[in-house]
Symmetry: C3
Subunit: 433 residues, 3 copies
């Protein structure tokens, strides 16, 4: 199916993902609320999305769906009535999940509700208070420091009431019920890399799969971080065994990394595939062992599930200064990085789709490739032919025990070359499944 | 039990061990004889010691308890009657286990019985002749070289007659019969590091265990090297299966190492524990594979026993110039090194005592730590909290397969932090055994 | 049996192998033909050789024995009748397996049949066309470039008709039917290192085995590359299970390497043995993983056989510039390299012959070596005695699970020292089999 992957990948995919990223960037999202609904509407203009609403109060494992949060406006005015902090300028300014507030406060009280980064005095940090009732504003440290004694009017025009947690699913049916889960979080407000980029990349990946015959069924899940993944797992507990491979993605537009974090299993097929693809990607990539902190792999890899789900991103979260600040804006990401991330993920899917265990039909000694026109006529030319070498590797290891990926790793050749050699040999009747 | 380990360790332990080392340093010990009895009397003033005497001629596996050796005096006089070598000045001067001798000899004959180190001309070497009847004197090479032609009077006022091999045992009963064996050799004469330091350290370790409730039973064994260990094994063959972990120690007062030599099994729990403790000790430690040469691990790890017993010391024996010479005196060791050695061993015991396999009571997705007050209220603060991380590691790996030590290694966090997190989670009902 | 291996090896073996190499160097060989018969006659003057002739047209697995090729003369004359390329000067000049030709050709047509190496303009390359009917000449690139327009007379007085594929076998019977296969290719024309050297080395190795009592049966196989190995395997399919270890050798006279390429199994005993021998050989050797390209290990290690057969040579084929050119002549190889290669192979056979699993008769604690005169009388001498250490290693690991080779690897001592210690301990009744 993925024969033309690379050509496809280069065909404007970076620009398309960037455009959708920019489109959903301004929306104010949280783990619940209308921002999630609006984002899913944008995604739905590209692919079919099943939207699920799970009511406030529903128990999902150890957790409970919280009240739904929406915010219309929020600001701080100084004594002269001038808005010195304004939600309209950046939705990061409001502490995510702030309860409504409208009052006049002293500088001292205000400061107890201001969040800033002394070491990065010009950016607005992204902060949340989902499960502890609180209100607050996130501001550049330079602003916070410049405030003078006096009274301030603070207004957060938010609502926190019974509603729903919302998530979206898109399924591409393959010839098998075995699933590949591709998921990303939909709960962050105006942060371009983390995670408008992930939402846009998965949307366009799903879009390009449309109409293709695949071996696996692909499940695309757009859900709020943590509580969304937990909700999905609670509602799909009886069918998670169908998930044979999975990737959590986020932060795919910056120029860092790429980074792959192994599943808790450590040597699942997805772990091997990602290591192989990154090794041959031409990037200086990093492979991390699983740790129980990060994105929703925390839930998929909890010991009761232990699913073969890894995490992919570019620069490691928390390690780049723009992370979770207003500096993670549309200038921070680039179409070519989005395209490269797409290509890596797409190539990994190609490996999963194409991996097989073949058996040689002539396992004793080498088959005579020459009489089939598969071998150079003049012997002992020095220059090796990677196609010929790939055929020899496949024939020698086509013993029913080694997968094509195993052979690609063993021979240090890219999977695509090994798979292509296997296809030729299969055509010539030299391999059977 | 070991909650206050570090505080305890710093509370004068180095000085206490040093004091006992200094007290037993002057005694002339051998593999048999009154020096062993006197040393055990000093140890008995701190802890209860069962003293065993095994008669000369008793068969212990392939060996036989030799005759008991005692020495009252020994010297060499030159022609003018001047004592040029005197046992009273250093008991290292007499070849250990020398038969009695009293005669006038030529320089030539004398030299056949002198042992010295040409490459270290100012020190007295330590030499023995347990199983080949011989007499001799160990002297600085400079002295040996200065001797002039003439006759010399040699006197060794020793006895070699039926008696006993002596060893001492102290047992601290734990709640289980499973034992941790801690042993050190008691046969070396006036050598401070090797091994007055080991005898003193184990004595004070046993003393500080007094009154503590422990999981394991601790067996402290003070026995002569080789023949003592063989004797103990021969007399306890039916109960060695109780030994779950063991350490041979010696040379714990110098500033070298620390060094741990793995048990023959190579990956016994004690091997894992010592590697973990040394990695987090702040010292530049060395871990050696088992080899069949060294201290009494040779016997405990002989193929018919193959016990999980490793060896701990500071600088590697035979690698520092003071080893087995008169330069291994009280100036060569320091209280702070004794204290550090004590802390390492004590921390290892703490790990063995505290290691468990837990299971999460909520294995599907993460438990909501926030609602239990175990998680920061404001989300997305960048600074990681090692206690929080330790809880996440424990919850994720509490699958009944990973021990706390496994989790400590996997997370690269010290065992004490992982154990403390597990205790908190257990209190909150999030773990069961 | 191999007690005097090293002495033997130094006793003129390099000169003897060189002499036979030089003797067979001028013969024009191919995968069939009289050159193979003549070469086997030279070998037969040293050892008994069973010569097998397999008729043209015989099916061997996926292959068919080709027609037999012989060449009497071949040359190219320029317009003035001067021979500018002459088979009599070097048999490399004729494309191996060229069909007969006798005609006048234009420079353009001639050039379509000339093979040369632009990057090595002064040497004649070695090229073949076994399975595609063709004629051609191999020439220095400088000659090819100097040819002027005009007509040339080309003559290849060869025959290609029904005949046989020829190979030779020599078997040295051991006390067991288990076989060690030692094989090398006999199909290359005048190339000294590849492979007159291999033919000569195996001949003299077989010659020196004569009359020796060995544990294994040794099968020496001199066969054409690829088709010869395939033929042998096809005719011996029912008995290949007897092959317990094997080495393909070639190129053993140059100063490169030495190089060992593991069997497809990767950790067969021959792989362990060769790694051990090379580590202790004093050479800066290279160990390569199996790959399905190279010499006849390709056939022995095809998945339907997967025999424990590795490949030994000096410099890696294809990596040195003389490879497969007229520069691989008698000046390229040296007697001392042939001797060193012989010694390595011979030492590996010694390990295979001598490897055993012993058990200690006194596995509990150490046996008392001193009372048997096997241990130094004076204790605590610093200088280690490698024989004593070897005895301790053997006693400790003589548990029926570790072979002597395992112990040699574990102790980092050469196999010969470990085996000698084991022999001593066996004599003293301290080991049983």
């Amino acid at each position: 199916m993925y024969q033309d992957l690379r050509a496809e990948a280069e065909d404007g995919i970076g620009a398309e993902i960037f455009a959708l990223t920019a489109e959903i960037f301004p929306i104010c999202r949280s783990i619940t609320g209308d921002g999630v609904r609006e984002t899913l509407r944008h995604i739905s203009s590209h692919i079919d999305v099943d939207i699920h609403e799970v009511p406030t109060g529903t128990n999902v494992f150890d957790w409970t769906i919280p009240r739904e949060w929406n915010v219309r406006d929020a600001y701080v005015c100084d004594g002269s009535g001038r808005k010195i902090v304004d939600f309209a300028a950046s939705n990061l300014h409001v502490l995510n999940y702030s309860i409504p507030v409208r009052k006049r406060v002293s500088l001292r009280e205000l400061k107890q509700h201001l969040y800033s980064l002394p070491e990065q005095p010009d950016v607005i940090p992204y902060r949340t208070s989902y499960y502890a009732e609180n209100w607050g504003f996130c501001v550049p440290h330079r602003l916070s420091e410049s405030l003078r004694e006096g009274f301030y009017d603070v207004v957060i025009d938010s609502t926190l009431k019974d509603g729903a947690l919302i998530y979206g699913e898109h399924v591409h049916k393959g010839s098998s019920d075995d699933e590949i889960l591709l998921t990303t979080h939909i709960c962050h407000p105006s942060l371009a890399n983390d995670n408008c980029s992930g939402l846009a990349l998965l949307t366009h990946l799903a879009k390009r799969l449309k109409g293709k015959n695949t071996r696996y069924t692909y499940r695309f899940l757009f859900a709020p971080g943590t509580i969304g993944a937990i909700t999905w797992l609670a509602r799909n507990e009886d069918r998670v065994a169908l998930i044979k491979h999975g990737l959590v993605i986020s932060g795919v537009g910056d120029g860092g990394g790429p980074t792959y974090k192994r599943s808790r299993r450590g040597n699942a097929e997805i772990d091997q595939v990602m290591a192989h693809v990154l090794k041959h990607s031409g990037h200086d990539s990093t492979i991390l062992d699983f740790s129980p902190y990060g994105y929703d792999e925390r839930q998929y890899c909890s010991p009761g599930f232990n699913l073969p789900v890894g995490m992919f991103q570019r620069g490691q979260y928390g390690k780049y200064p723009e992370y979770h600040t207003s500096a993670d804006d549309l200038d921070f990401i680039r179409p070519q990085h989005l395209r490269d991330s797409y290509t890596i993920i797409r190539t990994a899917l190609e490996v999963l789709e194409g991996d097989r265990r073949f058996q040689s039909t002539l396992p004793k000694c080498e088959p005579q490739l020459g009489k089939r026109g598969l071998y150079a006529a003049i012997g002992n030319e020095k220059d090796g032919d990677s196609k010929k070498m790939a055929m020899l590797w496949v024939l020698n290891y086509a013993d029913g025990k080694h997968s094509l990926l195993d052979i690609a790793e063993r021979s240090d050749l890219p999977f695509a070359i090994i798979r292509s050699a296997a296809e030729t040999l299969f055509e010539y009747g030299l391999l059977h499944v």
